[in-house]
């Protein structure tokens, strides 16, 4: 039997940390990919199913079981044609976090972005997915995209 609730500013455990309930505040990584060459706006795949947002309907992606925050995103890709482009995280029908990617024709490009917990939140039952945009016809073309969205569960 425990000794009640305790609040600390910081906890350092020099050995193992065993939690017999559920750890709130743990991170998870949502994985997406798109292999084919794309020069437009593409919602990446969850496994073999493409995520989607058909003008607010047919919203597909990972369905959340718990509330939380989006705290990082990253992408690895090949850029074959120059042009500005962006990486956009969506929650339901809202593009919540859009970031410009480097315009650099190269293979194996990796880019990472972080933000504070609480900046973009979600609830249980929300759907999270990610898109790559060629920024309104910039001509940018990429392929072999593998992206990750990191979330913290409340």
């Amino acid at each position: 039997m425990g000794n009640g609730k305790k609040t600390y500013k910081e906890v350092i455990t020099t050995g193992d940390y065993e939690n017999q309930g559920i750890i709130n505040g743990s991170t998870q990584e949502l994985q997406y990919q798109w292999v084919d060459s794309t020069a437009g706006y593409v919602y990446m795949k969850c496994g073999e199913v493409q995520s989607s947002n058909n003008h607010g309907t047919d919203i597909r992606g990972y369905l959340m079981l718990y509330s939380g925050s989006i705290v990082s995103k990253s992408i690895c890709y090949d850029q074959t044609i120059a042009g500005s482009h962006s990486l956009i995280v969506w929650v339901n029908n809202s593009a919540v976090w859009s970031t410009a990617l480097t315009d650099n024709v190269a293979t194996g490009v990796t880019e990472e972005f972080t933000q504070a917990r609480g900046a973009d939140t979600f609830s249980a039952g929300d759907i999270i997915y990610i898109a790559h945009s060629d920024d309104a016809g910039s001509g940018n073309t990429v392929d072999q995209m593998f992206a990750k969205v990191e979330i913290i569960i409340d």
């Binding site: 000794n3 609730k5 906890v11 455990t13």
Partner: protein
Amino acid sequence: MVGGKETISELVCEGDQDTQGERKGTIAFLYYSHLGPVTSNTFLKSCEVINNTWAPGKTGSVIGIAVVYDLQAVGTPGTAPTFTVRVSGSSVLSVSTDTTIANAKKARTTQARGTDTFTSSQDIECVLLNSLGHTYAKMIAIVAVLLDG
């Protein structure tokens, strides 16, 4: 300060938490998908592999399942099919679908830690149990597990 072992019922850490050993009791997501369309019992895929499983590697509990799917056509009337988590072939946690034809439908459920447990060597599958001939497609699933160690 380095203390010894302390057992408390609830711990709130307002800042960072640094575990220099192993953290026991963490949540992990297992990912499954299937493009379909399918009209019978179907194992969802782990990555590109069909009829395969995630092996957890540690003991733990199944604590949730969440699925986004299309129901394209309804077959024989009857009990609605389910998306079911199976541990080494035994069904442990299911979420029911309904028979309203629509795209991007959602189904999810959670349960307490300890309700359905697994050992490190068991397999965790996500299966559409559909014996009525309904047509499902574009299925994206997460199975949440809580690892004991």
